[in-house]
């Protein structure tokens, strides 16, 4: 097993005719993901990926014609909130939004509606998820993965790749790697993903990649202690040396006042029995110390 994406994933790519959408649709298909449809309003009837994927005007058409059950969104910020609502409105239950720079208050309205419909959104401004050897959805490079039994969840994008690469180099495979994105309003939290890992018999250990700002890491630590007391877990926090009060690249990475510092997060994680690495490259060693064996 694995979480979120696997061999049963039937993926529709919203924005498949754009530069990013087309490129990553190809990468996902090449990895083995079952890309069943694309959506670009006004380009219905065309096809993408050398004729292998039909393009539809609407998500509803894509779902009806191809049985798509998962969506990934590469649509510019002005259209992305609507693209999410279109996907869930068409009955898609799992949506990944890669788009960055969506206004937070737009997302606030969108997540309320996604929740009401009982669907799951990962992102926005996230790299997606990969279940190695099964399927990848998003922009995480497929080559860095190794199938295995460690689940990874991260607020960062490229930092995630770094750690996954290190794990793979050390022979430690992954069940599923999920980037939840660093935006202020996100569809899925650390805890949402940890709950999925808890229910996945294939995931035996977890890596959590956090960063400064907010209190999501502290909350995740408390949740882990209560709900996953026996699962080995290691973590990393980016931004130990970041100057306070400045926004580091995306909205998530800002320290205001005394909360949200790397120190407070590391203390909370360690208090919950989670080892915290000093460098991403230390993660494989900490996993091994926690009892994880190479795949």
């Amino acid at each position: 097993m694995s979480i979120l994406v696997d061999r049963s994933t039937r993926l529709v790519v919203q924005g498949i005719t754009g530069r990013e959408g087309a490129f990553h649709a190809g990468q996902m298909q090449a990895y083995g993901t079952n890309v069943v449809a694309g959506v670009t309003p006004g380009k219905g009837g065309q096809s993408a990926l050398d004729g292998s994927v039909p393009v539809f005007d609407t998500c509803a058409d894509a779902v009806r014609e191809t049985g798509a059950n998962t969506s990934v969104i590469y649509v510019p910020p002005a259209g992305a909130p609507d693209a999410i609502l279109e996907a869930v409105g068409a009955g898609i239950r799992t949506v990944f939004c890669i788009t960055e720079h969506i206004p937070a208050l737009e997302m606030m309205k969108v997540v309320a509606e996604v929740d009401r419909l009982g669907a799951r959104l990962v992102g926005p401004n996230c790299p997606g998820a990969t279940s190695p050897g099964k399927a990848k959805v998003g922009i995480i490079p497929g080559s860095i993965h190794l199938p295995g039994r460690v689940g990874l969840v991260s607020r960062s994008g490229t930092l995630t790749y770094e750690v996954v690469q290190a794990m793979t180099d050390a022979g430690i495979g992954q069940s599923t790697c999920v980037g939840i994105g660093g935006d202020p309003i996100a569809g899925s939290s650390f805890i949402d993903i940890l709950s999925l890992f808890r229910d996945d018999p294939e995931t035996e250990a977890i890596v959590l990649m956090g960063e400064i700002g907010g209190d999501a890491e502290e909350r995740a630590a408390a949740w882990k202690q209560e709900h996953l007391p026996k699962t080995p877990m290691v973590a990393f926090i980016a931004g130990r040396t970041a100057p306070p009060g400045r926004r580091m690249g995306h909205a998530g990475a800002i320290i205001s006042g005394s909360g949200g510092t790397a120190q407070s997060k590391i203390a909370a994680l360690e208090a919950a029995g989670i080892r915290v690495a000093d460098s991403p490259t230390q993660i494989p060693a900490l996993l091994r110390e926690a009892g994880v064996r190479p795949s």
């Binding site: 937070a104 994008g157 770094e162 907010g214 690249g249 460098s279």
Partner: protein, 393 residues
């Protein structure tokens, strides 16, 4: 983006909230004229407040009262040009001083955990809310607005009663809903009124009346939404910004100048922070935070390189790219382009892995000398720190 108090008050007043009249002066003489106007209209005193985006201006002596035009001129003269936490005061706000009966704290903020707008209030205003939140969390009233319907009437009433404003119910409801509306209409992250004050005034019949007034205002705009609010973008205070920040924003780059000697160019905020952390850990010091973002094209990479090189203290450059949405070959092309235009010869350590890393390696190899490549992040960091150290030695 933080707004100056006078801009924040403009947004509140536009939304119909009760903000006492104010004026903005950039010279002592101007402040005197404005003070005289307010005093002539019946104000007992005026308050003169430094307009800076950093906190603690009161403690720094940036807020003072004046009872006459001459005093206002003198006070404004002392505040204008003052250095508050590294920022030079260029403007002061002049307003009639209010007779305050009671101070209340009220703010609308984005609650990331609940994913809703949170109205936070405290019957004790004028305080640091962070301090209060830590010391006596029960003294803070919290109500989440409905994500689609806004702050409902009953929610605003509940807030008003909890703040002890039952005698000013209608006004308090209008203000609470107004803050939420200002937040939504301007895509703000924060709309804070501290203090919201019960002000003593004299009614038309000579009897004293108490009215609720927003005496200070702080508004922060969601950067991701600025493109749809050109009027707010125009409120940006360029005087208070580092010219290099202005240039970085123009180029669409996320850049923060630091004190060190190793220029960093990374894709992704998390990896960029981690790279900085590792540089420090290896004994070096980063000259900047720079996230070139996802899907950066070669031109953007070249621009980013120029920003780094503009800093004379930079002795080594560390490029760390893990390709995903960004493609290694695009970055490599940008680096080569920047290198060809570069006037200053700063050694560069480049690590490009992930999407199209093979193409990148080829491009960098073809470009020849001056660019050192590394495979692992640790290795790249060590190389850059070693270069910087030898250059500084």
């Amino acid at each position: 983006m933080k707004l100056q108090e006078y801009h924040a008050k403009t947004l509140l007043a536009r939304a119909g909230l009760p903000v006492p009249e104010w004026a903005v002066a950039s010279s002592p003489g101007e402040a005197r004229l404005q003070a005289e106007t307010f005093l002539a209209r019946g104000a007992g005193k005026v308050v003169i407040k430094a307009q800076v985006l950093v906190g603690g201006r009161g403690k720094a002596g940036g807020v003072k009262l004046a009872a006459s035009g001459a005093e206002a001129e003198r006070v404004a003269g002392a505040i204008l040009g003052m250095d508050i936490k590294g920022i030079v005061v260029r403007r002061v706000l002049v307003a009639p001083a209010a007779e305050i009966e009671r101070e209340i704290y009220l703010a609308a903020v984005l609650d990331r955990t609940e994913r809703k707008i949170l109205l936070m209030g405290s019957a004790e205003g004028g305080v640091e809310i962070e301090t209060l939140a830590e010391e006596r969390p029960d003294a803070i009233v919290r109500i989440h607005a409905h994500p689609h319907l806004g702050l409902l009437d009953w929610q605003a009433r509940k807030l008003a009663f909890a703040l002890g404003l039952g005698d000013h119910l209608k006004a308090a409801v209008a203000i609470a809903q107004g803050l939420q509306r200002v937040m939504v209409e301007n895509d703000a992250d924060l709309v804070e009124v501290n203090p919201l004050a019960l002000v003593r005034e004299t009614g038309p019949d000579g009897t004293p009346v108490l009215t609720l007034q927003c005496l200070d205002a702080k508004v922060t705009i969601d950067d991701s939404a600025l493109s749809r609010h050109p009027g707010l973008e125009a409120m940006r205070d360029l005087d208070e910004e580092d010219p290099i920040d202005i240039e970085a924003r123009r180029l669409g780059l996320s850049f923060i100048r630091l004190e060190g000697s190793i220029g960093c160019m990374v894709n992704g905020a998390g990896l960029a922070m981690t790279t900085m952390d590792l540089v420090k850990r290896a004994g070096g010091s980063p000259a900047n935070f720079l996230d070139i973002g996802g899907g950066a094209r070669s031109e953007k990479v070249a621009n980013a390189m120029r920003l780094i090189l503009a800093e004379p203290s930079v002795k080594a450059i560390l490029v760390n790219i893990f390709g995903g949405i960004a493609r290694g070959d695009e970055v490599a092309r940008g680096l080569v382009e920047a290198r060809s235009q570069q006037t200053r010869d700063v050694p560069m350590v480049v690590r490009i892995v992930g999407t199209n890393a093979d193409l990148a390696a080829g491009i960098l190899a073809d470009a020849g000398g001056g660019i050192r490549t590394a495979q692992s992040l640790d290795e790249a960091v060590e190389m850059a720190v070693a270069i910087a150290r030898s250059a500084e030695a």
